[in-house]
């Protein structure tokens, strides 16, 4: 019975805060920080109620057992009545570059085990810019099938009719608070009068945009390399076809000649042994790259939309001033 997850409910301020805190403390630079999401499934929504972080892989901790850490955590949490059902995992990302093979594999193993699991991607840099960037993704059922077969050849992918748009589907996130937390919020409102920081309205955004574009260009380069590989493959195949054809024709001619001379015809040799077909390039990687490029483009478009709005505002302010 397939339960399709319609949305993700983050109940508990603390999930989000913990994720943010974890990134703040652990991950600086391009490292990713990861952790586990706990919660339960309610009808068609996935409710996430708690989370805990995963320690980084350090070289001097070679015998560190991840599984054991997880089991211990979950056991302990059960004691204090925290939902200990694994429902997904989260990861931080650097400028939105998260569509990688590793992610795919992890998410696949999660989703295979638990039908509705999601991966929460938290983008700290975008959040620092002023808007919280937290997205939940799952693999589409089609991709799940393909992964199950472990068959990433082009034929299988074509059969599944998978395009890069159909790899991940985004699940809408909703945040819900309990009453007591609401009370807490009201308290804090009174007590902590910290000045608002309007990062979002800052017009100086070219740095961010530049970095995004840089990453996009890198990916496009990879993509073009991939395309070149694919082209060579196509060319090789067609050349090989020609060669096969020629060989066959020659054979036939020879056979006719021999027949006319009365000699036994040469045996038909196995063509496939003579002409080994070239290896088709792995399609999965290019799919991933395409997906990544797509994400970058989306991000950039969002960003530019915001900036345009801000610029028009600045213009209005100036006009009024003059």
């Amino acid at each position: 019975m397939l339960r399709i997850c319609q949305g993700v409910l983050l109940s508990g301020v603390q999930v989000v805060l913990k994720i943010i805190k974890h990134y703040q403390e652990e991950g600086q630079g391009t490292e990713v920080v990861q952790g586990v999401l706990l919660g339960l499934v309610v009808e068609d929504r996935l409710e996430i109620t708690n989370c805990f972080p995963f320690p980084q892989h350090t070289e001097d901790d070679a015998d560190f057992d991840e599984v054991q850490y997880q089991m211990e955590m979950m056991r302990s949490l059960r004691h204090v009545n925290i939902d200990h059902l694994h429902v997904g995992w989260y990861q931080s990302t650097y400028y939105g570059s998260f569509v990688t093979r590793a992610l795919l594999d992890s998410q696949f193993s999660y989703q295979h085990a638990i039908e509705e699991s999601v991966v929460l991607i938290y983008d700290p840099i975008k959040t620092a810019q002023g808007s919280l960037s937290l997205k939940a993704y799952r693999l589409t059922p089609k991709l799940m099938e393909v992964c199950k077969e472990k068959d990433f050849s082009p034929e299988a992918l074509k059969k599944g009719n998978i395009t890069f748009e159909h790899m991940f589907e985004e699940v809408p996130i909703v945040i819900k608070n309990s009453h007591l937390i609401n009370v807490l919020m009201w308290e804090l409102e009174k007590k902590s009068a910290v000045a608002d920081k309007h990062e979002l309205l800052s017009l100086a955004s070219s740095n961010h945009l530049g970095k995004n574009l840089q990453l996009l260009m890198d990916r496009v380069d990879e993509m073009s390399q991939d395309i070149v590989k694919y082209n060579t493959y196509m060319r090789n195949t067609s050349k090989q076809q020609q060669q096969k054809h020629q060989y066959q024709q020659r054979r036939q001619q020879e056979n006719m000649q021999r027949q006319s001379r009365g000699e036994p015809p040469l045996p038909e040799e196995d063509l496939s042994k003579l002409f080994k077909p070239p290896q088709p390039p792995a399609r999965m990687d290019s799919l991933l790259i395409a997906g990544q490029i797509n994400t970058y483009c989306q991000n950039i478009k969002e960003f530019t939309a915001q900036n345009l709005g801000k610029l028009f505002m600045a213009q209005a302010l100036q006009e009024y001033n003059n």
């Binding site: 301020v13 603390q14 805060l17 943010i20 805190k21 974890h22 990134y23 703040q24 403390e25 109620t49 708690n50 995963f54 211990e72 955590m73 302990s76 004691h79 204090v80 009545n81 925290i82 959040t127 620092a128 002023g130 808007s131 919280l132 074509k158 009719n161 395009t163 748009e165 809408p172 996130i173 909703v174 945040i175 819900k176 309990s178 937390i181 609401n182 009201w186 308290e187 804090l188 409102e189 910290v194 608002d196 309007h198 990062e199 979002l200 309205l201 574009l213 993509m223 694919y230 483009c297 950039i300 478009k301 530019t304 939309a305 915001q306 345009l308 610029l311 100036q318 001033n321 003059n322």
Partner: protein
């Protein structure tokens, strides 16, 4: 003999008792010693040897007074100016995560449990103690006794240390609005783990219609040579945020206003709209104030006037032509980038189609 040797059993008050002099300026604020509850029936006041300002406790308590004054006076002063045993000074900086976690674990408590307790983790720097993480610990409480699962606490602490090795045990928390005898016992349990503990109470039962958050440090009091009692002295609590946390908090605060406490994450332009709305509110308040002053309802305040002046002057005065060029070039940049992004997307879509032929 102003500096007695405090019996080793009591943790926080042990270290080098501060010389009596620095406490001299502090006692001025000592009158605020009130809200401290003491399990032992001794008078709940801060005793102060040097200047027995409010001390209803007789100066005949020199043994405890030496450790005590360094801690008790400056409750209202977030002053790092105090030397001595509590290296963190008077301020506890709490992150929002802690409160959210505490409330959450309170909501999930076992049937029949009146409140929950747990450990606080964090770091100390010279001005304050920063509490950044916490986890709850199961415990059983009955009329006479309290059982805390310390094994569990230790295990959890080890696990947490693996992720963030900088965090040390800073104290413990309890829900409920007062300090009880059990607190002392629990405090003692914890003091075996770490020195200088902080005790945090979060009033989830909403006494006085508010959820108050208070922090305490324990000190000894009593007469030396006899049983020592423990007194909890309050500390100032401040809230600390990381920048990214602040943005989150703003978003979450919005859930207060929606009927079923639900809020979705906004998409790009709407976020800008949201922030703008807030600025609009702020501006209208300012305008209202200005009008009030003009119509004489409110007396004019010079400092506010200065601020308003600088506010208005912050819109930069640029020659219109220059501004036009700047604006246009920026818009051009953005449009070009959008165009390129769209182009790239259509390119890869096309590529897909071709490859799948």
């Amino acid at each position: 003999m102003a500096t007695p040797t405090v019996p080793a059993s009591a943790p926080p008050a042990a270290p080098a008792p501060a010389p009596a002099s620095p406490t001299a300026p502090a006692p001025g604020s000592a009158p605020a010693a009130a809200p401290v509850l003491v399990p032992t029936a001794a008078p709940a006041s801060s005793s102060d040897p040097a200047a027995a300002a409010t001390a209803t406790a007789a100066p005949g308590q020199p043994p405890t007074s030496a450790p005590a004054p360094a801690q008790t006076p400056a409750q209202s002063l977030p002053g790092p100016a105090l030397p001595g045993h509590f290296p963190g000074g008077r301020v506890v900086r709490l992150h929002l995560v802690i409160l959210a976690s505490i409330v959450d674990s309170y909501e999930r408590r076992n049937e029949g449990a009146a409140h929950v307790i747990g450990t606080l983790l964090g770091t100390v720097d010279k001005h304050s103690v920063e509490v950044t993480n916490c986890f709850s610990v199961p415990h059983n409480e009955s009329e006479d006794e309290v059982a805390v699962d310390m094994e569990f606490a230790k295990n959890m602490y080890e696990l947490h240390k693996k992720v963030s090795p900088n965090e040390l045990i800073q104290g413990w928390y309890a829900t409920g609005h007062d300090i009880t005898e059990h607190s002392v016992l629990i405090h003692e349990y914890y003091s075996r783990e770490a020195p200088n503990l902080i005790h945090l109470t979060v009033d989830t039962s909403l006494q006085n219609g508010r959820m108050s958050v208070k922090a305490y440090v324990s000190t000894l009091m009593g007469v030396s040579g006899r049983t020592m009692g423990v007194m909890f002295t309050p500390l100032t609590v401040k809230y600390a945020y990381y920048d990214t946390e602040r943005i989150r908090v703003d978003l979450i605060m919005k859930t207060r206003f929606s009927p079923n406490r639900v809020i979705g994450l906004l998409s790009d332009l709407r976020q800008v709209g949201g922030v703008l709305a807030r600025i609009e509110d702020a501006l209208s308040t300012v305008l209202q104030y200005a009008e009030d002053v003009l119509s004489g309802k409110v007396s004019a305040d010079n400092t506010v006037g200065c601020f308003l002046m600088s506010l208005v002057n912050q819109v930069p005065k640029i020659v219109p032509d220059d501004f036009e060029t700047m604006l246009n070039s920026n818009i051009n940049d953005l449009l070009m980038v959008t165009y390129l992004a769209n182009l790239t997307q259509s390119q890869i879509a096309l590529n897909e189609k071709l490859v799948n032929l």
